[in-house]
């Protein structure tokens, strides 16, 4: 069936601010869908309140509404735009729930708007636990035994029926499994049930048989209007049942089922998808599998594009969201081409000849008193994906990608303590694979570890192979490391840094690299092609491995390499991917071949058709240098990828690789507190008194000298990691110790805290001649609340003209002094009409997308072009630098407190918000301003 011609204008609903359980994967799917629909000639109207998204850029849709995702906004937008159809499957559960609410109100029907991509009935069936159960029973698909409770009493009865504890509690209709979990002990049962009943919008919880120790699988499906169903990807969770799939280490394709077992799962998945409706689109189905009895049960169905479909798209190369969008407008799979090969059909099931490992990324250190145990409620804030030819290789690469200072799966630091390893293995924690490796290293057997963790022995054997290799390396000195052994170690994913650590003699990562290259061992780049090499493919999507032939052909074009921002975490989220994507597009517009390195599967930057070449690799020194040596770019852009990219600047500089934009020396100047203060002094810019310390005694001495309250923080971190306000000597000691626990050996900065001051964020671009202030944002909350957690208003709402001019002058002076090329962000505070500079960051800041959306100016694009040599004058003359903002734009932080009920809600110098929304207001009487203003001091803590 060709595309529908009865619809012309499609409303696409986004997923709103990033929260735990619903992150930037929906920017990726929404952007893909919007572009696909536009390419088909449809007019796309997009609504999303999240400014830090590519999908809300003019490049993505015809009309963009940065509005709250509420029925009221949809009413207004529909009134103006009169779309023919709405596609609610690309914006996660938020969009789906919104579409359903409007359906229940009869809104879509009344306006004659077609809901495409899903059936409203399907949403209801899959979200209503009882209805879903009944349906699965009817079609003969096994399930966990369970029943829905509407009261605590009922819950108790059901638990008794199931044979007592443990049982699982799942509140109906909550995001990321909010409020769910296993209950092991009677004393927590009442509390958890009550909380679930409260959290569920329909006040129901499901009490379910506990499937502890069962294996967990996911299948990603696509179906077209002709009822063709294909499985895009199978995913096996390394963590058995009991850990939310968003918190699990997952592997694609599935590894441990026989074909007969797998086909049985495939049949069940297809039957289940067909049973919930006749819609054309994507679907995710989760299964549990009992490794003892072979019993297989269905866990849940998501009739939409999900976090796992983003992962499956990146893992296989198959653009699920793009194809799902086309299916939603009537195409059938057989009519669509496989864009990766360009020659074969989209109606097939990808076969891959590599292994993909996903590891989630958590931010527990941000939340004091948080329960770190992984449960059925998702707690991760981001994830990394790694591709290797084998599971061990991909697992090691995933650990390198996490940016937690690991050079692979351990083997890079002193051995762990036996009792600690034993303790940590007992429950699922974030570092489970590492603790498995530690346990094996300490002599535990696969059987013992399996008994405790229930992780499938296959994975344990594979990790044991790594430990065996470690032992072989550790018996040698570098000169004894022969080609065969080194080759095999590299094929198992060991980094040069790990090998250097393991070797008997005292050698560095660089020594190992030199030795390796002398032996002719360098990585090869393999193509992600959806078909295991069966057909030629034309999409430039690569991963590294150690094979015998590289598939990434180096062109003779001039090229730039853009370093991505790695996994999302609090303090470094989607905002940086936004800037990276624009950096890539700008470089391409200027005629460069743009190369991207990143390892975050949720992002737009890792979409295979964004950069000229995508290297899906850890943003890890060895891997970055490998790509540079392979591609020989003119330079590297480190300004856009947040701290991830910036952290590599020093080594790039040392290795003599050109950094495009602001020079390394100047970036270092800004980052080094001592040098930067000297500059401020030279420029006659006031700053709060400060000091530096390298031990506790020194910190106390400095604090006593400067006075209290005092800000205590580590240097070189983003998002205020470890930052605290101390009011006395004891607190200084305590905070310094805490910082060192987290970041051993890090330098400590101590600044006088100006109580009751106003904080300002200022973004600017400098081209060597003129400074362009892109935006001055005034925070509503007092200084002391991290800028990422503050409500920021653009332009300032009560700063005097004099103060604003002073801010502009200071920022301009700093930009000139630091010889910035491209972006700079300066943070300032104002107290009693005096302006102080706290810090300057010569790079893309978190606020770049917000300012871009507020003013309607493509700031990242312009800044990247400035880095590559363009002058602001050109853009100014073309009228591109003029703000279109009327009234005020307000950046509102969004938190995921509901995921950490045990953590008190308080704000301080350490950032805790996971996302942001934008609101446009005409006057300060608007409640988007008045509400946060009224409570601005409420949550300030230390």
């Amino acid at each position: 069936m060709p595309k529908r011609t009865d619809i012309h204008k499609i409303l696409l609903i986004g997923s709103g601010p990033i929260v735990i359980g619903q992150a930037c994967e929906f920017d990726y799917s929404g952007s893909q869908a919007a572009r696909a629909l536009r390419a088909e000639g449809y007019e796309v109207v997009l609504v999303n309140s999240n400014p830090a998204t590519i999908m809300t850029d003019p490049v993505t849709a015809d009309k963009i509404y940065l509005r709250d995702l509420t029925p009221a906004s949809i009413h207004q937008i529909v009134e103006i735009e009169r779309p023919d159809a709405v596609l609610p499957t690309m914006g996660g559960q938020t969009a789906l729930n919104l579409a359903q609410t409007l359906h229940e109100q009869g809104f879509w029907q009344e306006r004659g708007i077609h809901v495409i991509g899903v059936d409203i009935d399907a949403i209801r069936i899959t979200e209503d636990r009882q209805e879903f159960r009944d349906l699965m029973e009817r079609i003969g698909i096994d399930q966990a035994r369970s029943r829905t409770a509407k009261s605590l009493l009922e819950a108790k009865e059901i638990a008794q029926e199931l044979g007592g504890l443990p049982v699982v509690i799942r509140p109906s209709y909550t995001l990321g499994g909010s409020g769910g979990g296993i209950v092991w002990h009677p004393d927590e049962f009442d509390r958890k049930v009550m909380r679930g009943l409260e959290l569920s919008p329909v006040h129901q919880v499901l009490i379910e048989e506990c499937l502890f120790g069962w294996k967990e699988y996911e299948l990603e499906l696509l179906r077209d209007a002709n009822d063709n169903v294909i499985i895009i990807c199978s995913i096996e969770n390394l963590d058995p049942m009991g850990v939310h799939t968003g918190d699990s280490v997952t592997v694609a394709p599935q590894q441990t089922l026989t074909d007969k077992q797998f086909q049985q799962m495939r049949d069940a998945a297809i039957r289940a998808m067909r049973s919930i409706g006749t819609f054309a689109g994507g679907c995710n189905i989760q299964f549990a599998f009992d490794p003892v009895s072979g019993r297989m049960i269905v866990i849940e169905i998501n009739p939409r594009v999900s976090r796992s479909s983003a992962l499956a798209s990146k893992a296989t190369g198959y653009p699920i969201a793009k194809v799902a969008a086309r299916l939603a407008v009537g195409y059938t799979l057989d009519e669509l081409p496989n864009e990766i090969t360009g020659t074969t059909s989209a109606c097939f099931e990808p076969s891959i000849d590599y292994v993909v490992t996903k590891i989630p990324r958590w931010n527990f250190e941000k939340f004091e008193g948080v329960d770190e145990e992984l449960t059925t409620q998702m707690k991760a804030v981001g994830e990394v994906m790694a591709i290797g030819r084998t599971f061990p290789e991909s697992l090691q690469k995933a650990w390198q990608s996490l940016e937690l200072g690991y050079a692979g799966l351990g083997a890079d630091r002193e051995p762990a303590d036996r009792s600690e390893v034993r303790q940590r293995l007992k429950k699922p924690y974030w570092d489970r694979t590492l603790q498995i490796r530690n346990a094996l290293k300490l002599g535990a057997s696969v059987e013992e570890i399996h008994d405790i963790t229930r992780v499938d022995p296959w994975f344990l054997y594979q990790i044991q192979d790594l430990v065996t290799m470690e032992e072989q390396i550790s018996r040698r000195a570098l000169v004894q490391l022969d080609r065969d052994l080194l080759w095999e170690a590299k094929r198992l994913g060991f980094s040069d840094a790990q090998i250097a650590f393991l070797l008997e003699d005292d050698v560095s990562e660089d020594d190992v690299r030199a030795h390796r290259k002398a032996l002719g061992i360098t990585p090869t780049y393999q193509l992600v092609d959806t078909c295991a090499g069966e057909f030629p493919a034309r999409t430039p999507y690569f991963y590294s491995s150690y094979e015998t032939a590289s598939e990434s052909v180096v062109s003779d074009r001039k090229k730039v390499l853009i370093l991505g921002s790695g996994p999302n975490r609090i303090g470094q989220g989607i905002e940086f991917d936004y800037s990276c994507v624009h950096g890539v597009l700008a470089a391409r517009e200027m005629g460069y071949e743009a190369l991207m390195i990143n390892c975050n599967p949720e992002t737009v930057s890792t979409d295979f058709d964004v950069a000229d070449k995508l290297y899906f690799e850890p943003v890890f020194w060895e891997k970055v240098l490998d790509v540079i040596e392979h591609e020989r770019p003119e330079g590297v852009i480190v300004q856009l990828g947040g701290q991830t990219a910036l952290k590599l600047a020093a080594r790039l500089h040392e290795a003599g690789i050109p950094i495009l934009g602001t020079s390394y020396e100047m970036m270092d100047l800004a980052e080094d507190r001592g040098k930067f203060s000297a500059i401020l002094k030279e420029l006659e810019i006031p700053f709060p008194p400060y000091g530096m310390a390298h031990d506790v005694a020194e910190a106390v001495r400095v604090a006593e000298q400067i006075g209290y309250p005092i800000l205590v923080r580590p240097s070189y971190v983003l998002g205020g990691q470890g930052m605290r306000i101390a009011i006395n000597k004891t607190e200084v000691e305590q905070y310094v110790r805490q910082i060192w626990k987290l970041l051993p050996g890090n330098e400590i900065l101590l600044d006088l805290f100006l109580d009751g001051a106003t904080e300002i964020d200022c973004d600017a671009v400098f081209d060597g001649e003129e400074v362009w202030i892109t935006g001055i944002m005034q925070h509503i909350e007092p200084a002391g609340v991290h800028s990422g957690d503050s409500t920021a208003v653009l332009p300032p709402y009560d700063l005097s003209e004099t103060v604003q001019n002073t801010i502009r002058r200071y920022v301009e002076d700093i930009a000139r002094r630091l010889e910035v090329r491209g972006l700079i962000n300066v943070q300032l505070i104002v107290k009693d009409e005096t302006v102080y500079v706290i810090e300057a960051n010569p790079r893309a800041s978190r606020t770049v997308p917000f300012v871009a959306k507020a003013t309607g100016i493509p700031i990242s694009n312009i800044a990247t072009k400035v880095m590559l040599g363009e002058k602001l004058k050109t853009f100014r003359e073309a009228g591109l630098l003029e703000s279109k903002l009327k009234g005020y734009a307000i950046k509102e932080p969004v938190f995921s407190w509901d995921k950490f009920p045990e953590v008190p809600k308080e704000l301080g110098p350490e950032m805790k918000s996971t996302g942001e929304a934008i609101a446009f207001v005409d006057a300060l009487t608007d409640e988007h301003f008045s509400r946060p203003y009224a409570i601005r001091n409420l949550y300030l803590s230390r």
């Binding site: 026989t258 495939r266 109606c347 099931e349 054997y461 290799m469 052994l485």
Partner: protein
């Protein structure tokens, strides 16, 4: 390369007829073997593939790197022994994990004296074959001299023009199942067990006949339908089988053919068959049923195909086509009651999307009986 947990690993080499030689480590039986090097892109079902008689004499290279993950099991046999001549993998799994397994794949290979090699950059070789076409190869852990191995690969007999069905067909006729359903006579050119199971599961009485059985011998059993099985080799080198198929078309009995059987029926009906540059071997090939427009994800394993240019409306109509390369996947014959498919509806390994074809065959038989009854 080294399986760190497998200290007895011995060096091994794979040599291709075009001079390419790669090193690896021996798996399975220590020795030497040769055959046409082909690859399969299925990510599961390795044991079914190794025991599929259609692969007789071929060296199988699996594109999925980890092979052996779930061990080996009697349940997964498609014949009574492995049929491939040798095995090439990237990362062999010695220690498996699955509750259904009887033994490790390594033990299975050793027990069946199957020679294999691991640690090979299979992706490079797949791309090599894709561009250069399929070719013969030799795996050896006893001769490690490159030149000698390449020479052996060159001398290895070509598959083209080779009749192989006689090597894998049953020696004597046997009953596979008895049931209330129709009687199916199976011409065994290397039939996969799962085809027989498909008939059995539908209540059929199934008797399997040696490939060389004269048609009269089969008819003596009074079958309700004839089935021409899959199998290895070049169908054009099987004049007797083609002749049998031609005679069968005049019996009035419904006929169903799969893979080699499909090619034999096509040749018997006067269509042409050619050797493909690179065959189809995997479990993800999209095939469209032209009557329903529905797409089936199919298991395929063939190096020969029916030439679409030779199709004539009075002989057969195209019922199924491959969405990737438009090759002929299914035919409904006009001059007799019969149809055939190039792919494997019995799957094993692979998706179950096409099992309806077995029902279609039984329907043909039912309708034909009706006609016969009426005519009589």
């Amino acid at each position: 390369m080294t399986e760190p947990t497998h200290p007895s690993a011995a060096p091994c080499k794979l040599a291709l007829a075009d001079g390419t030689v790669v090193k690896g480590l021996a798996i399975g039986h220590r020795g030497e073997t040769g055959g046409e090097l082909c690859f399969n892109t299925s990510m599961t079902g390795y044991q079914e593939i190794f025991t599929d008689p259609s692969y007789h004499g071929q060296i199988m290279m699996m594109t999925y790197p980890h092979i052996g993950n779930y061990g080996a099991s009697d349940e997964d046999m498609e014949a009574d022994r492995p049929m491939i001549a040798g095995l090439v993998v990237r990362q062999f799994t010695h220690r498996y994990s699955n509750q259904l397994a009887d033994e490790s794949l390594e033990r299975f290979l050793k027990r069946h004296k199957l020679v294999g090699i691991t640690g090979v950059d299979t992706r490079r070789l797949v791309r090599h074959i894709r561009t250069k076409g399929v070719m013969n190869a030799v795996i050896s852990s006893i001769d490690l001299d490159d030149e000698s191995l390449v020479e052996k690969a060159r001398r290895w007999p070509s598959m083209e023009g080779l009749e192989l069905a006689s090597r894998v067909t049953t020696g004597t006729a046997y009953d596979f199942s008895t049931g209330p359903g129709p009687r199916i006579a199976v011409y065994d050119y290397g039939v996969k067990r799962n085809i027989l199971r498909m008939f059995r599961d539908r209540g059929c009485t199934v008797r399997v006949f040696p490939a060389s059985t004269p048609l009269a011998g089969v008819l003596g059993w009074q079958p309700d339908g004839l089935f021409f099985s899959n199998g290895p080799g070049d169908p054009r080198a099987m004049p007797d089988a083609i002749d049998t198929a031609r005679q069968a078309m005049t019996t009035g009995l419904p006929i169903f053919g799969i893979c080699l059987g499909h090619q034999l029926m096509s040749l018997a009906a006067g269509l042409d068959v050619y050797k493909m540059y690179v065959g189809h071997r995997g479990a993800n090939h999209p095939v469209q049923n032209l009557a329903t427009r529905r797409v089936e994800v199919t298991t395929q394993n063939h190096g020969f195909a029916v030439d679409p240019k030779s199709l004539r409306d009075d002989v057969a109509v195209l019922t199924h086509r491959n969405l990737n390369d438009d090759t002929v996947e299914g035919l409904r014959f006009k001059q007799f009651v019969g149809f055939s498919v190039q792919y494997h509806p019995e799957a094993s390994p692979g998706p179950h999307d096409s099992r309806y074809l077995f029902d279609t065959f039984l329907q043909d038989i039912a309708e034909h009986r009706g006609v016969r009854v009426k005519a009589g």
